[in-house]
Symmetry: C2
Subunit: 229 residues, 2 copies
DNA sequence: AATCCTCAGCTTGTCTGACAACCCGAGGAG
DNA sequence: CTCCTCGGGTTGTCAGACAAGCTGAGGATT
């Protein structure tokens, strides 16, 4: 058999087709789609198939069905998730954006840090020291926890959310890097002072110093990422 | 039958319930859900209803159904979209993050700017001057276009994507601000020099100056946002 | 005339039963 | 030992039926 007769799932095909027609502007936002029976007849499939296709698109936030009224267009462009954008991007690009976020976070944190924030940061710092001999994965996660505590001290939820978005992609890349460069074989680890100095600067409320230290630390990482040999 | 569902849309309720159970960790990523007939019996609904609930979740990327195999867990946490996070946040928080993005972008752009980038930036600058007398909305959009050109010159797709995400939320807030403060009534506009200086610094490859000018400009806006009276 | 009510007709929501398409592993054939 | 077949379990699709809900037209009421 050379030609596959019906390659895929009808409901998926129908959903794709409808999504394409939505993106092409066949139905504007707020307008009503043809009825399920009409669509089913148009595409030559059963009504349950059409319904599943519509549910697929509704789950993606494109459509909204209301009993007795009809199915209306909610959006015509697929929602962009942070994950989907980050996936497949060059790690260097991601790290550059992380720099932007963290340097600014350090600067803001210096002006807003509370007693509790300082305690959190120092706790994370201690955990990072403990994790150093344990393993690459553990060490990287403890390291990121320090940075997370600094970002949290900036008290900006959008910034924190953004930071968390980057964490998964960064954790993998950093673990590879730590393993590759054998960072944990060295003793004492070279970055320990960086982190302590950063936390001290934030705790002291020195915004310029906090930003400067953060930038220096992250630029060093960026350089390592760019030439991993 | 575990929980009798009867109120509104059964499929939606079933989807919510399954999503909650997923988030609670009842089924780990990669594991197989009970069969459709089993789930239907458990929730006391028909199989088609369960199927629509599963399609809803599949559309959100949580599940993945494969014929002959079963329905498996793809993710357990709902995908976070940029829109959903930005919506409802304090505008000051958003502007702070914009600062982080744009200052870093200006710094990077100074090191990577091409001849074409410079041409784009100057074109946007000229358009901004033209739009000044036209209207608030037009002026704000032309203003943002200048910033967009600077970000584009950084040649970092993640950064650009992030910038575009913030644009809708910023456009509204800035339009309000421009109208409220009557910025366009003044002549000549005070910010014109800021923008020109920023573009010049980027074109000249002066990273520190570009970052400094960008920061000064955006901090001024932040101050205006914080005290709009 | 203006307002309220009722109802027909359309829409989506749900259920049932049936069969097709498909995947996987067990167990036999070679 | 390898290959093949086949059975059981799973999702995919369909048709038909009825329930539930909304909308607007038009009659009934004030």
């Amino acid at each position: 058999m050379i030609a596959p007769l019906r390659r895929n799932l009808l409901a998926d095909q129908a959903a794709d087709l409808l999504a394409r027609r939505l993106e092409d502007g066949e139905w504007a936002v707020g307008t009503k789609l043809p009825g399920e029976t009409t669509l089913a007849a148009e595409l030559g499939v059963g009504r349950s198939t059409i319904r599943e296709a519509l549910r697929l698109l509704a789950g993606r936030g494109l459509l909204r069905a209301r009993q007795g009224v009809g199915v209306h267009v909610e959006r015509t462009t697929p929602a962009v998730t942070w994950e989907s954008v980050l996936r497949g991007r060059e790690i260097a690009d991601v790290v550059e954006v992380r720099n932007a976020i963290e340097v600014e976070a350090a600067r803001l944190a210096a002006g807003r840090v509370t007693r509790d924030d300082v305690a959190d940061m120092r706790r994370a710092l201690a955990r990072r020291d403990e994790a150093f001999p344990v393993g690459d994965r553990e060490f990287v996660e403890a390291d990121i926890a320090v940075h997370r505590a600094v970002v949290a001290a900036a008290h900006n939820p959008v910034l924190s959310e953004l930071f968390e978005t980057f964490v998964p992609r960064l954790t993998d890349a950093m673990t590879d890097m730590v393993a590759l460069l054998g960072i944990r074989d060295r003793d004492p680890e070279p970055d320990a002072d960086d982190h302590r100095a950063l936390v001290d600067a934030v705790a002291a409320g020195d915004a310029d110093a906090a930003a400067r230290i953060s930038r220096a630390h992250l630029d060093a990482m960026l350089a390592a990422v760019r030439s991993p040999r």
